[in-house]
């Protein structure tokens, strides 16, 4: 029996009068790759932000890795993010004036102690051993996304969150990134939550849930 890494009950998020996420009950077993699909404004990014400790719910309960996120202070959530979560953004969000290796070391710095050799190794794992000293502006979109993946995995997170990580990539780069994530997950055994509106990308997961207007309307288990 695999234990649950994420448990939500009646999880809700309101922004003023707008209910971005209506009460959701969700259990994600440890090690699962969960794809979250839905149209724009369906609440999928909101769900990911709540699970990643980037936002606070309006109602309901939310436990991730045994931590009650509602009980954590601002600094407690920051600690949770650096120790437990790795995030891959659609827009990469790399610090423009730092090199690829320094961008990876940034996550190490906030987590514990920067280790350049380890950061280099992480970039080599994502196939960027030859681009260590390049700044984001000197990298292609796919390469930037791989730096973002290296930064997300450098602290060995239990939970990897992807917010449309291939949204800005062409098909070839998308496949490359997804294969890389699959390999890394096999090695690191982390849980993946991938927000996407691309059915092809969602199909890389074990299970897909569908959100519509903040409501979990359907879920689908992928055939292995």
């Amino acid at each position: 029996m695999v234990s649950a890494i994420i448990e939500t009950s009646g999880l809700t998020r309101n922004y003023g009068d707008i209910c971005a996420l209506k009460p959701i009950d969700l259990i994600v077993p440890e090690g699962e790759w969960l794809s979250v699909m839905g149209h724009s404004g369906s609440g999928k990014s909101t769900l990911m932000n709540l699970v990643g400790g980037l936002d606070r719910p309006s109602n309901g309960s939310l436990r991730v890795g045994g931590e009650d996120l509602l009980a954590l202070s601002e600094d407690g959530l920051a600690r949770f993010r650096r120790e437990f979560v790795g995030i891959i953004f659609q827009q990469h969000h790399l610090v423009p004036y730092l090199t690829a290796v320094e961008n990876v070391m940034l996550a190490q710095y906030f987590h514990s102690v920067p280790d350049e050799a380890e950061a280099r190794s992480a970039l080599e794992r994502v196939g960027l051993g030859h681009r260590l000293k390049n700044r984001p502006g000197e990298l292609s979109g796919g390469e930037q996304q791989r730096v973002c993946i290296a930064r997300a995995i450098i602290n060995s997170p239990k939970l990897l969150l992807g917010d449309e990580p291939t949204g800005n990539l062409d098909h070839k780069s998308t496949v490359m990134v997804m294969e890389l994530l699959k390999e890394l997950r096999a090695e690191e055994r982390f849980t993946v939550i991938m927000v996407t509106h691309n059915q092809e990308v969602a199909a890389w997961g074990d299970r897909t849930i569908y959100l519509d207007d903040g409501v979990l309307v359907r879920e689908e288990r992928m055939k292995s």
Partner: protein, 409 residues
């Protein structure tokens, strides 16, 4: 890593960094200049204020019989602890005499004094002491006496006796007569205009009081009186007394002088001392206020620059927060940046301020200025203070950034 972040942040945003640096440097420069000249201005103003007249009066102590002081003790005034603060002194010997000139007769006060006496004290630099030094506002029509039988006469007395420079006044005291040549008529605006002033030795001889004096007026550079300075030395502890004695209060300088003049009692001339003290205190307050205002303006400029920079950097801050930076780590980066800039700004500000102080001193006081060493740490601390005060609002804004909103889509 912090060093790499700071270094790259500086190199990437030279314009923003330069603006913050400039604001801090200007604040430190103005603080250095104002504080630098504040000390100097106090000193120069104190010297200027000595033209108000003497601020310490030495008289025979009533306890000692209230007779006379000894002229032979006068050189000792130039050997006391506060000798460098004593800018001048002059002795007086008063007597009642009968003046006659051109058929007119009148009883009045004859004052024996030093006009400009060369004083040689073993082990000390030679100096010139006398009325000319401590009462520069005296206007003499004619010239100052140089010989033993020369004198100057107060304007009111001269008018009544109808004497002018070049005339003679016969001065008689208890049957002893001295013919005095009038070489000047003095206008002071005070009681001195009713007297006749002759060399001390002449009046001592006339009054048969050789080697004796009635009082000494002392002009000394002093610091404004504060609550501690006003305390009665008799009630002070040993440490307090030492501190009081070693501070140039008018009371402690007076005490210092009193100790070397046998049988004397020294009293501050409060209307002079208080006016000087109040003026110097106000001057220092104005300089301090200007410094604080300049630093406040710099801190505002730093805050504005950092606010603009913070808006530009919000994605970077949001990202740092998203990958797990807590408030302390975010603060360390931004405060670290600002403090590094403030060290550079403080050094440059000190150098600029030193030059500025020199320009102000030359323009206003016509004299150069040398910055005291303590101004350097003061400039650095001022720069830190400006940097920290200017960072508060931007840092608060940075800490309130929500990654979810900034990193959206």
């Amino acid at each position: 890593m912090l060093f790499r972040i700071l270094k790259n942040s500086f190199l990437k945003r030279p314009k923003a960094v330069f603006l913050v640096f400039l604001s801090i440097a200007m604040g430190a420069a103005v603080a250095t200049a104002f504080l630098g000249i504040a000390g100097e201005v106090s000193h120069k103003m104190a010297l200027e204020l000595r033209s108000y007249g003497a601020n310490i009066l030495l008289e025979p102590s009533a306890v000692e019989g209230g007779g006379f002081l000894r002229e032979e003790d006068l050189p000792k005034i130039k050997t006391v602890f506060w000798k460098y603060n004593i800018t001048g002194f002059t002795p007086y010997l008063f007597g009642i005499a009968e003046f006659s000139a051109g058929g007119k007769k009148e009883r009045g006060v004859v004052s024996g004094t030093w006009f400009a006496r060369q004083l040689e004290v073993p082990g000390e630099d030679p100096s010139v002491q006398g009325i000319k030094g401590i009462a520069p506002w005296w206007e003499v029509e004619g010239r100052w006496p140089e010989a033993a039988d020369e004198s100057i006469v107060g304007a009111a007395l001269a008018k009544r006796l109808n004497v002018v420079p070049g005339g003679d006044v016969t001065t008689t005291v208890r049957g002893r007569t001295q013919q005095l040549r009038i070489v000047g008529v003095v206008t002071t605006g005070g009681y001195e205009e009713e007297q006749l002033f002759a060399p001390l030795v002449t009046v001592q001889s006339l009054l048969q009081q050789q080697g004796k004096i009635s009082r000494v007026l002392v002009s000394a550079l002093t610091v404004p009186m504060d609550d501690f300075g006003k305390k009665d030395p008799a009630t002070m502890s040993k440490d307090e007394y030492e501190k009081w004695y070693c501070t140039a209060y008018v009371t402690s300088v007076a005490k210092n002088v009193e100790e070397v003049m046998a049988g004397s009692r020294a009293k501050p001339i409060w209307q002079i001392a208080s006016a000087e003290g109040a003026l110097l205190k106000k001057l220092n307050s104005v300089m301090l206020l200007l410094t604080v205002l300049a630093l406040g303006a710099s801190a505002t400029a730093v805050s504005t620059s950092l606010m603009a920079s913070m808006a530009e950097r919000s994605p970077e801050i949001a990202l740092m927060k998203a990958v797990g930076a807590d408030r302390l780590q975010i603060s360390a980066i931004f405060v670290g940046e600002t403090l590094i800039i403030s060290v550079a700004g403080g050094i440059v500000g000190y150098l600029l301020g030193d030059q500025l102080a020199g320009i102000i001193s030359r323009t206003v006081f016509n004299s150069p200025i040398s910055s005291p060493l303590w101004l350097f740490p003061t400039a650095i601390i001022s720069a830190f203070a400006v940097a920290i005060a200017g960072s508060v609002a931007p840092l608060r804004r940075a800490l309130l950034i929500e990654p979810v909103r900034v990193l959206k889509g």
